[in-house]
Every structure is written in C-alpha cells, then in structure tokens.
C-alpha cells in the first residue's frame, strides 16, 4: 500500500472519518453536516462524536426523520454556495431520498447546461451480518453507481476513509460515500500530515499472478483472506480494490486480468444486476482474449437479508466461497463451472 508519509498513527475507521470532517470544516466554513442524530448523539455508530462540540449545532445539524426532506435541503444549499455532508443513517434509507439524489442532485448540473453545481456528499453505509435484518443490512452501491452525474466511493481502510472523504467534500459533484458498518472499529495506519486520495484510482491490495480478485469495501478483507488460503494450493491471487465504482479505474483491473487471465468480482450488493456484473462485463469486453476461464461473480444472495444468524451468514460472500471458485477457475477442481 502506498503511504505518503512515514509519520503515521493507528486509528479506527470511524476516527478517520471524524478527522476528515473536522479538518475540512476548519478549512472551509461552507461545509456543514446534516442528518438524523448527528449532533450530540454523533450517529448510532458514534462516528461523528465530538464534532458538534467544536462546530456547534449550526454546522452539525440534527434533522427530523425526513430523509427526502433533508437530502433535498442539502441539494438546495449545495446549489447556493454551501458544501453539505449529509448523513443517511443506514444505506437502506437511500431509497427514501432517491428522488433528491437521482432526479435532483445528479441531474441539476447537466439540466442547467453546466450553470448550477451540486457539491454535496451523501455519507451512508453498507453491509450485512450485524443481525439487523432486511431493512438495515443492504448494500446499495449498484443503485447509485447506475446514475450519471453521481460519484460513488467505497473506502475500505481508515487511510482510504480519510483521504477519500476529504476528496469527496472538495469535489464539485454529488458524491455518495458508502462506509462498511463493520469496519468502523477497524484500526489502520493513517498519516498525520494532510493527504487526499483521488477518485478513479484502484488500489492493488495484494499482488499475484494466477487470479485477480476484484473486491469492494467489506469484500476486500474477504478477498485477502481467500488469497492467503489459496497460497496453500500454490495459487497466487491479486486483490484489486477499485475504491470508487464511479468513476471506475478500468485500467488497473484490466491490466491485472491481462496478467492473471482469471477473475472473480466480489461485492456485498445483491449479485443480480450488480457492481459485480458491471465489472465482469468490463473484463469480458476489454480482456476477453486474455481470459483462461469465465469471469465469475460473488455478491449477496438474491434474497432479502434474513434475521437469524444461521440464515444471514449464508447470504454473504465468504473466503471459502471465493477459494472454491478460484480453484475451479484455476483447474484445481474439475467440477463444472456452470453451477458454481
């Protein structure tokens, strides 16, 4: 991993988000935070804890439970000189604000012939296995990645969370910034000095020669675990984290697949019509004559997320599922691939 400064500390993902917001709000008075329970509560995940103490309730604004309303207000504020960071408590609630995000924020710059801009960040989250059942566990990055005019960021580590959020806040476009709920307490090295991570640059999380695992957000760790397990088979897996799905760093993905000739795409969104389908299609289009095996996909099972832990755990990609497919693609299992 590239690390711009040797001067680093280990902080949690939540702290990295908090730092990014605090630094940007100190730098630019037009930035404010708005959402449900963002001020004194600091969100249910405590990601924003303490920000209201420094910036006050005028810039860390608790809203009623009105996702469409406060997202729309954010859009209007963004069009008139502010840079709001909107907190959508659960990724599932994106659905409530879809008109404001899709029909308003994403289109206003284009519809106005470039005259109006909407520099807004919608911070939300993804991921199952928190035993939160069907309406608090979904991963909607595919929904928003479908929309021209939006940018979609999926940070994986604390380092990326901070660098990408600062870039998102400074971007003049609407950005949907989706965090993995399970990573909030994960620690990682973060430089003391200021840094930004540009959009559209994938990160090679691990180098390998036999198979490429393209994984997003929560699935990067699954892919890395699988890569370690595959070493026992003598298979060396390369793990690519796109970090932003819109814009997407096609080049890094294609170059990796050209090298390894095999690919599995892993994302926690529903598998059908998802992020994985888009990236698999990209690989089939642009690296077809370098492929040794069909491009395979792994996403959440196409069912509403069940509550019972026994059932819920079945719905998400696991390292075991990844290595099973990887072995098949690499000819280590002769089972038919069509049913994989």
């Amino acid at each position: 991993m590239s690390m711009p400064s040797p001067d680093t500390r280990h902080i949690t993902f939540a702290q990295a988000i908090n730092e990014a917001l605090a630094e940007e709000m100190r730098r630019d008075p037009t930035i404010f935070i708005m959402g449900e329970d963002v001020a004194e509560a600091g969100t249910p995940f405590k990601v924003l804890a303490g920000l209201v103490d420094e910036f006050g309730t005028a810039r860390v604004i608790d809203t009623p439970i009105s996702e469409q309303g406060f997202c729309g207000i954010g859009v209007g504020a963004a069009m008139t000189g502010m840079r709001p960071v909107i907190d959508i408590m659960f990724g599932d609630f994106l659905t409530l604000a879809m008109d404001q995000i899709v029909n308003q924020a994403a289109k206003i710059h284009y519809m106005s012939g470039g005259k109006l801009k909407v520099p807004i960040v919608f911070r939300t989250n993804l991921g199952a296995t928190r035993r939160s059942a069907a309406q608090h566990s979904q991963s909607f990055q595919a929904w928003v990645s479908h929309i021209p005019g939006l940018k979609v960021v999926l940070p994986t580590t604390p380092y990326e969370a901070k660098g990408l959020l600062k870039s998102a806040i400074r971007d003049d476009n609407p950005v949907v910034f989706i965090e993995d709920k399970l990573s909030f307490q994960q620690k990682g090295p973060v430089p003391t000095a200021e840094y930004l991570i540009p959009f559209g640059q994938a990160e090679i999380k691990r180098s390998g020669n036999d198979i490429t695992l393209v994984a997003t957000s929560s699935m990067v760790d699954i892919a890395l675990q699988a890569a370690t397990l595959l070493e026992a088979d003598g298979l060396s897996a390369e793990v690519i984290d796109p970090r932003t799905t819109l814009p997407l760093d096609k080049e890094t993905i294609i170059n990796s697949v050209k090298k390894t000739s095999r690919a599995i795409v892993i994302d926690e969104g529903y598998e059908r019509y998802g992020i994985t389908a888009e990236i698999a299609s990209l690989i089939a289009d642009e690296a077809f004559y370098y492929l040794e095996a069909p491009v395979k996909r792994l996403g959440a099972m196409d069912v509403p997320v069940p509550f019972s832990p026994v059932l819920e755990d079945l719905t998400v990609p696991t390292p075991e599922k990844v290595i099973k497919i990887a072995r098949q693609l690499c000819g280590r299992i002769t089972t038919s691939l069509t049913g994989a």
Binding site: L291, E292, G331
Partner: protein, 437 residues
C-alpha cells in the same frame, strides 16, 4: 489464389502420413470436395478431399512416400492463375498444421434409400452422420432413429473447449486447438497447453523411442506407442481364434425395448458390452493378462471399445463396465465416441483396458479375426447382423444371425477356456433374460 495441398493431420499426435496414391494427376482440373488422394495414417486409410477447385500442380510427393504432417505436397491453382514457384516445405512441428480434414470427414457418399434421403433432407440431416443399423445402406428406420435420438439428446457440438486466451495464442502461432489436450477447467485448452504444444519438439521420425521411453512418453505420443504395441502383439502373442454364430433375434428385441425406455441412443455394442462384462466376471482369465511370464488377473472389468474415427482406430475404455447400468454404459459410450471423434480423449480414457470389443458390423463385415490389444488376454470381434437361413428342428428358418470371433492369447487362455466363455456369452445373447439369474 493457389491453395496448398498438405499432408493432413488426421489423428492425435500423428506425425507422418503415407501417400498411398494420387486419385488425380498433375495438370488435371479438380473440384473442391472431390477425392484427391489416399493417405494412410496409423491404421486408417483415408481419402482426402481437394481443398479447392483448380488445376493440380507442383506435386512433390509420390505414391508410397511417408510425409511429415503439414508438409505441402502439391498446390491447386485457380483457373487463370499463374502457378506459384515450388515451395520448400515449412519446417514446422506437426501441431502447426491446419488439418485439411479436421472436422470435415471425407465425403464418402453413403448408400441411402430414397425414402431415407428424403426424410433426412426434410429434417436437414447430413446422412453421412447416420450409421445404418443393418448393413451399409442407410434406411428410413435409421433416419427416424437418428431423429429420435437427436430430439432427446442433442448431439454435442465437437467445438473444442478452449479459453479465449488459448484461442488467441493458438491463432497467433497458427496452432490447431483440436490437436491440443486440455488441462483447464472442464478439460478446456488453456494458454499453458497451447504454449506447451507449440514448444513441443518437431517430429524426428528416425528416432524410434525405446521401451523405457515408451512408459514415460507424454500423451501426444500414445498413438505411436500403441501402434508399436500392436506390432509387438502380432509378432509375440500366440493368437488363436474361436468362431461362433448366434441368433441375434433376442438382442434386436432387447434393443428395441431398451430404446423405448431410455433417452440415450442404445447400440448393439452397448448391449454386448453389458453381456460381455457379465460373462467376464465369470471367466476372470479372459479378463486377465500375460505379464513377464505370469498370468495376472485384473480386479476391474474395463472394456475397451474399438472406435473407428476418420484418422484410424482408437480404443477408449469403459471402466468397471460390470457395475454400470445399460443406460450408464450407453451414456459413457456416447461421450467417449464423441470425444474420440473430436480427438479429445485423455490418456486416462485410453488406458487400463482389460478386454476389448471390436464391432465392424456397421461396415457390413460378416466376421473378422482381430489382433489382441496388449497386454489384454483376448478381444471379441463382432460382425454384422444378417438374415440367414438356418435349420431349426430340421426345418429351414430365417433368423437374424451374428458372427462372433474371440481372439485369445494362448499363454493366458486355452481353447476349452475360451470356448466355455463363448458358450456363456452366446447363451446370454440368445437369451438375455439369463443374465438375471
């Protein structure tokens, strides 16, 4: 544009072919698709079609010449085109040859009844794909049976399974993927298979492999080894032959009944394999072998099927045939034959046979004396089923009859042992219900 006539690769890892004769002479006008020459490879003699229409020129190989696969032996010049200068034969490994006949069997016009031809035409069937049940003439029943099978089990396309990368590499270096054994998922040819095949040393016909080499030679030399072993067999195995003629009436009835019940196409070979496996389980010596002065009895009954493909003869093996249902036997036979025709049999599918059955009935052969497939102890030859007049209880009766010939290695089996085996087999054939006992 002038089209090269090359010595085609007609079998897996075939390295040379013998030009038996030109069917057209230099200077003659030939038509694309008509028989141009006769080539012998391994065990097969094949008529090779003209790859283009035009005048046959620059003929460099004469009858009797053994020519490396891929070598240009003539050109066909389109009318009005200048004859190209004679070309040196490209020094290429055999795999780099584009086979003239690959996937395009010699156009032997089969004998077809008018009704069969009409039905075939209506259903867009190539009659050359149909094997007649009786004799060599394709009849209406053959076409209808073929249609029935085709409806239930669509015939698998012989398209070679290969990764896109392997296809690109093969195209770049001019390699025919059909000649490459696949090691990838589902047996697909991978890029590594292509590069290995391309890197394989060019054929050196003078270098006869030693016996030590034979045991460890890679798969693409299996045919050469097999050929030598057959030669060894013929020169070292004391063969003797037992002939029986059987009433095939029950066999025909059984086949019809089984076909009505099963989706898989059921052949007489399937039924005979089933009966043979059962008989072998009662006569272990026939399932044994001669090894270094000892008689070795095999635990498994693995029956090899002599399969004729354009390139010659190949013997894929149905393992543990005595443990398989008729349906499973038919399924495996179908898969193996399809793979044999596509040149895609693996080394495993060609090895460990303990007994071989060779059926030339579909070619109209009444009976024949086969060479034992070493180290096996025996091989059964099956002739055609034909109606003959036989005396039953002193009266002439017309019966469908079939001739069986058992070739035995006298070092493993004696005449009486072989005869008892044949007696049991004939009883099973004439009364398949006995197998239930």
């Amino acid at each position: 544009m002038a089209k090269n006539v090359i010595m085609p690769a007609l079998g897996m890892a075939q390295e040379t072919g013998i030009l038996l004769q030109w069917l057209r002479q230099p200077g003659e006008i030939v038509t694309k698709g008509e028989a141009l020459m006769e080539v012998e490879t391994d065990k097969a003699t094949v008529e090779i079609e003209a790859p283009a229409s035009g005048m046959l020129q620059n003929v460099t190989a004469a009858a009797g010449d053994e020519v490396p696969v891929g070598q240009i032996i003539a050109v066909i010049v389109a009318p009005g085109e200048a004859s190209p200068p004679p070309q040196a034969s490209p020094a290429q490994p055999p795999q780099i040859v584009t086979s003239v006949a690959a996937g395009d069997p010699p156009a032997k016009s089969p004998s077809v009844s008018p009704v069969a031809a009409r039905i075939a035409a209506e259903n867009n069937i190539d009659v050359r794909e149909i094997t007649p049940q009786y004799g060599t003439r394709v009849q209406k029943a053959d076409v209808l049976a073929w249609l029935e099978t085709a409806r239930v089990v669509p015939t698998a396309s012989p398209r070679v399974l290969a990764s896109p990368k392997a296809r690109r590499l093969a195209a770049e270096i001019g390699l025919d993927l059909a000649l490459v054994a696949g090691s990838g998922p589902a047996g697909a040819v991978s890029a590594a298979d292509v590069t290995a095949a391309a890197a394989a040393p060019p054929p050196t016909p003078a270098a006869v492999p030693t016996a030590v080499d034979a045991a460890t030679l890679p798969m693409n030399n299996i045919w050469r080894v097999a050929a030598r072993r057959v030669t060894d067999s013929w020169t070292t195995t004391p063969h003797f032959y037992l002939n029986r003629e059987v009433d095939a009436g029950q066999l025909i009835a059984w086949r019809q009944a089984a076909q009505a019940r099963l989706a898989e196409k059921i052949t007489f070979t399937d039924l005979l394999t089933k009966l043979l496996a059962l008989t072998l389980s009662q006569y272990p010596r026939l399932n044994g072998m001669w090894r270094d002065g000892d008689i070795v009895l095999n635990e498994e009954i693995n029956i090899g099927l002599a399969v004729a493909i354009e390139a010659g003869l190949t013997v894929p093996v149905i393992r543990r045939a005595n443990q398989l249902s008729l349906q499973e036997l038919a399924r495996q036979r179908q898969t193996l034959v399809a793979k044999a025709q596509a040149g895609k049999l693996s080394a495993q599918e060609l090895s460990d046979g303990t007994f071989t059955i060779s059926n030339l009935g579909m070619y109209g052969i009444d009976s024949f004396s086969p060479i034992i497939n070493p180290p096996q102890a025996a091989i059964l030859a099956v002739g055609r089923i034909a109606e003959r007049v036989v005396a039953v209880n002193g009266r002439p009766v017309v019966q469908p009859r079939m001739a069986l010939t058992l070739s035995c290695d006298h070092r493993v089996v004696d005449g009486a042992g072989g005869a008892q085996f044949m007696q049991t087999l004939v009883e099973f054939i004439e009364e398949p219900l006995r197998t239930l006992k």
